[in-house]
């Protein structure tokens, strides 16, 4: 299974080198990867349906309890088959859709990474590796959504999607780390046995809230849903893949995966029911106000995700069964609708549903696919969608006290979804063919076969639900922790309440479709309410935050070096002063003082003279020279206290510093009185405070009990181990040689920095580019 995940990454890596040959007819070969993976996962179906759970573990960071564990159970299998199966069709479709595109190889590369990351998410048994793959899906989808990177709207949507799902990823990380600490393991399969323990722990609410944050942002739940319609700026195959089978379902997958571990509590269930129902209704109503086919589909996807979250929230066996079935139902019909939208867009150049009509005459197989998908979407028998819808009603109808309310919510959502599905799947094909589209012709079979296959599958499974009943749905429901009764999928349940509800849904939905026509006017009406939408609010927050950070930054980074230095010192004074005042008992131990010699007294007097001269001198050059005097007296003190190495280094460094200062000063104007009386006083107080603090600190260090173990070790072993008598040098080049090596590397970088800064000569053209970049 590790190879299966890696193959996607390897494929992308491979595309870097051979990509340019894969742009033409060979592009189709890329589809072999998902096809191979699909067949690979399919062969596990038999073993999984026998109740087997296949797991593999590779050591990764064993010391932290992080292993690369992979588990394939019923739930993972459904997702794996969806990811690779729909992936295969999308890969094949892309070969025709983006035929001859300049960056086709790049596109396949991103798609490969994305597929591999998705497989990693659904197969990971370790929450840390799950998080890693989760973030990889966010990052690769960022590239996919922003694929048309010369359009500003694309870039904006990509950044928005990354921002929202990226924040979710961080929440997930926090959540799983806390969860791991509570349980004591990062392995999901090991967590299964400590469900009670987690539910009773004080961190339970926090963990669940964090994981909800991750799932809701990824699965576009209200109020984080707004990135998803924006993500429609991506090429259609990407939308198909992201919305039907993969990315947005990752959040649903996460909730399902944690249902047996964290589920069945009041907090878990009610939050999911509330958020799910708001999302499904809100998004379903929104579909009424859209005229762009992709926009309609995006909102209906959000609504479907709402239904899934809602079902997981109900948490009963019937609801979880309905969720498992509905995932497949939705994947099949939504992928079909997206793919035919892509064909329509590709051939006619528009996605405006008010303009499109009569396309069945020119795109007949596509029309069939659209019709079948719309039927499945609407839940009209004998489609798979009918099965799914019945199971949803079954779940809500038997849900205790609030059964009626929940059922009504589900019915309204389904009515609106039917409307959306018909609009996308049937509306463009009915009516009269306008003259503008008379030249439209059927594209290559690579484009129309994938949606047709998916649409036919949607009907086929509806007629023969036993195909997936035992092999896929049953193990998936078991994986969710429901091991009770056997799953039975039937198309016909006889005449009962559910059938009546179903009929009502379809009836009202059809009426809606025939009486409400999408129009630009309605769309414009809803635009007026835009200022209330979460998207506007988040954007407003972003702008406000940008302003704040600009003010904050310009306050601290005002461009004056002296300002920076005093800020740093002031900060140190505050932090250090606070600690020193609280934790010091100021004991001066005079007994450790030795007698002062005449040399020391003279040196200190010279030093004080140098300092006073530096402070009060009227010329820069003299001040620098006086600073040099101070440095040299310090090196004299080193000599007195028998540290010749330090003295030598201090001496040469000080010489070079004075030279450097002089060189810099040489470039400055002769003499300017830059500081006024007030700022001098301010600086003086700051320096005296800082100096006092450092002195106190140095004296306090003397009071600390000394640990001479380390210095003794060096003194004892310098000659034995490193054959050197100069301990300082031995430490530098031998015992701590790697430190020295890093230091000279850092110094080199600094020197290159100085060289680059001073030698950089921008032309007017370069300056314009820099300005432009700053604007963005």
């Amino acid at each position: 299974m590790l190879i299966a995940i890696l193959s996607g990454f390897l494929f992308s890596f491979f595309m870097v080198f051979v990509g340019k040959y894969m742009k033409g007819k060979l592009a189709l070969l890329s589809a072999l990867i998902p096809l191979g993976l699909f067949l690979y996962f399919l062969q596990f179906a038999g073993r999984i349906s026998n109740g087997e759970i296949i797991s593999q573990t590779y050591a990764w960071v064993p010391s932290l309890g992080v292993d690369f564990g992979l588990t394939l159970d019923g739930l993972s299998l459904i997702f794996c088959l969806m990811i690779t199966g729909i992936g295969f069709l999308v890969f094949a479709y892309t070969a025709a859709y983006l035929k001859g595109h300049h960056y086709l190889d790049r596109f396949y590369g991103y798609l490969g990474i994305f597929m591999a990351a998705m497989l990693g998410v659904v197969l990971s048994d370790n929450v840390i590796s799950l998080f890693t793959f989760w973030e990889l899906t966010s990052i690769s989808s960022f590239f996919l959504i922003g694929f048309n990177n010369n359009e500003e709207a694309s870039r904006k949507s990509a950044v928005l999607a990354l921002a929202i799902t990226g924040i979710g990823g961080l929440l997930l990380f926090a959540g799983v780390v806390i969860l791991g600490n509570v349980v004591g393991t990062y392995s999901i399969s090991e967590m299964l046995s400590s469900k009670e323990f987690i539910a009773n722990s004080p961190q339970y609410i926090l963990i669940v809230a964090l994981i909800f944050g991750a799932a809701f942002t990824k699965s576009a739940q209200f109020p984080f849903h707004f990135w998803l319609p924006g993500a429609m700026k991506a090429p259609t195959p990407v939308s198909t893949y992201l919305h039907s089978a993969t990315m947005v379902k990752a959040g649903v997958y996460l909730l399902m995966r944690f249902t047996p571990i964290l589920g069945s509590t009041e907090f878990w269930n009610s939050t999911l029911i509330i958020v799910g129902s708001i999302t499904m209704l809100y998004a379903a109503i929104h579909t009424l106000f859209r005229t762009d086919l992709k926009g309609i589909l995006a909102y209906s996807t959000i609504s479907a995700l709402g239904i899934l979250v809602f079902l997981i929230g109900l948490g009963t066996e019937a609801a979880l069964l309905a969720a498992c079935v509905f995932i497949l139902v939705h994947a099949l019909y939504k992928a079909t609708l997206f793919l035919i939208t892509g064909i329509i867009d590709h051939e006619t150049g528009t996605r405006d549903v008010t303009v499109l009509s009569g396309l069945r005459k020119v795109l007949f197989p596509v029309a069939i696919a659209g019709f079948l998908a719309a039927i499945s979407n609407a839940g009209i028998p004998p489609s798979f969608g009918f099965l799914g819808k019945d199971l949803i009603y079954e779940a809500t109808l038997h849900f205790g006290n609030s059964a009626i309310l929940l059922t009504v919510l589900a019915i309204i959502t389904n009515i609106l979804l039917l409307y959306a599905g018909f609009l996308a799947g049937i509306k463009p094909f009915t009516g009269k063919l306008p003259d503008t589209f008379s030249k439209v012709h059927l594209p290559s079979f690579l484009m129309w076969t994938p949606p047709l296959i998916l649409a036919i599958l949607g009907i086929l499974i509806g007629v023969f639900p036993s195909i997936i009943q035992g092999s896929l749905i049953q193990p998936a429901v078991n994986a969710l922790g429901e091991t009770g009764s056997a799953v039975e999928l039937k198309l016909w349940h006889g005449f009962n309440t559910i059938l009546a509800l179903s009929a009502t849904t379809i009836g009202i939905g059809l009426l809606l479709y025939f009486f409400i026509k999408p129009s630009v006017k309605i769309e414009a009406a809803i635009k007026k309410l835009e200022y209330l939408s979460p998207k506007t609010m988040i954007e407003g927050f972003g702008i406000a935050f940008g302003h704040f950070s600009k003010i904050w930054t310009t306050f601290f980074q005002n461009g004056f070096l002296r300002h920076y230095v005093s800020t740093i010192i002031l900060f140190l004074v505050l932090v250090m002063g606070y600690t020193l005042l609280n934790n010091t008992n100021y004991v001066l131990n005079f007994s450790s003082l030795t007698q002062l010699t005449i040399y020391e007294v003279i040196t200190v007097i010279i030093m004080i003279g140098g300092i006073l001269y530096t402070v009060f001198s009227k010329s820069r050059l003299a001040a620098v020279a006086a600073m040099g005097v101070v440095g040299l007296t310090i090196s004299l003190i080193f000599v007195y206290y028998s540290a010749p190495d330090l003295a030598m280094t201090q001496f040469s460094i000080d010489t070079l510093t004075v030279i450097l200062f002089v060189l810099v000063l040489y470039r400055l104007p002769k003499y300017l009185k830059l500081s006024n009386y007030k700022s001098r006083i301010k600086d003086g107080i700051l320096s005296i405070t800082f100096g006092t603090l450092i002195t106190i600190l140095a004296l306090e260090v003397l009071n600390e009990p000394q640990n001479s173990e380390i210095s003794e070790f060096y003194a004892d072993n310098a000659y034995l181990l490193a054959k050197g008598k100069n301990v300082v040098n031995v430490i530098l080049v031998d015992f701590r040689g790697i430190d020295t090596f890093m230091e000279i590397s850092v110094l080199t970088i600094a020197a290159i920095g100085v060289f680059g800064l001073l030698k950089l000569r921008l032309t007017t053209k370069d300056r314009a580019i820099v300005k432009d970049k700053n604007k963005i």
């Binding site: 030598m648 054959k723 100069n726 080049v733 040689g737 020197a751």
Partner: protein
């Protein structure tokens, strides 16, 4: 600076100071000194020469841009670090030694070559910074 005394003196001082810096470098393992100080002394020697004779003369004397000494020095230090891995199969940065000591320098081992690397890097860094600042307009 157009002082004839300084100019004449610097011509003699440059080789002397360089020799001194080498001396400091080589004895570092036994007596005060080492690559860092040695490098600084060598840089001072060149800076002094540049002050007396002009930057162009010193640059001409050096032949290569001092910046090139940085990668050379880093490579020497790195090679000294990995040499025990190749020569004796010991871990990175373990000291290995020639069996017999030679006069003046003492024992020769990988640590000395590491110090030489530091020496070259320090010369490269200080001369690059000072020359760049001198040249900047």
């Amino acid at each position: 600076m157009k002082s004839i005394i300084l100019k004449t003196a610097s011509n003699y001082l440059l080789p002397l100071l360089l020799l001194f810096s080498l001396f400091i470098l080589l004895r570092g393992h036994y007596l005060p000194g080492g690559g860092f100080v040695g490098g600084l002394i060598a840089s001072i020697a060149f800076v002094l020469h540049a002050f007396a004779n002009g930057l162009q003369t010193t640059k001409h004397l050096l032949r290569i841009h001092p910046g090139f000494l940085m990668p050379i020095g880093l490579s020497v230090a790195f090679l000294a670090g990995i040499s025990p891995m190749f020569l004796s199969g010991l871990p990175f940065m373990t000291g290995i030694w020639f069996p017999e000591p030679i006069s003046v320098v003492g024992m020769i081992g990988s640590a000395l070559f590491f110090d030489i690397g530091v020496y070259l890097v320090v010369i490269g860094i200080s001369l690059t910074i000072i020359f760049t600042i001198t040249e900047s307009k």
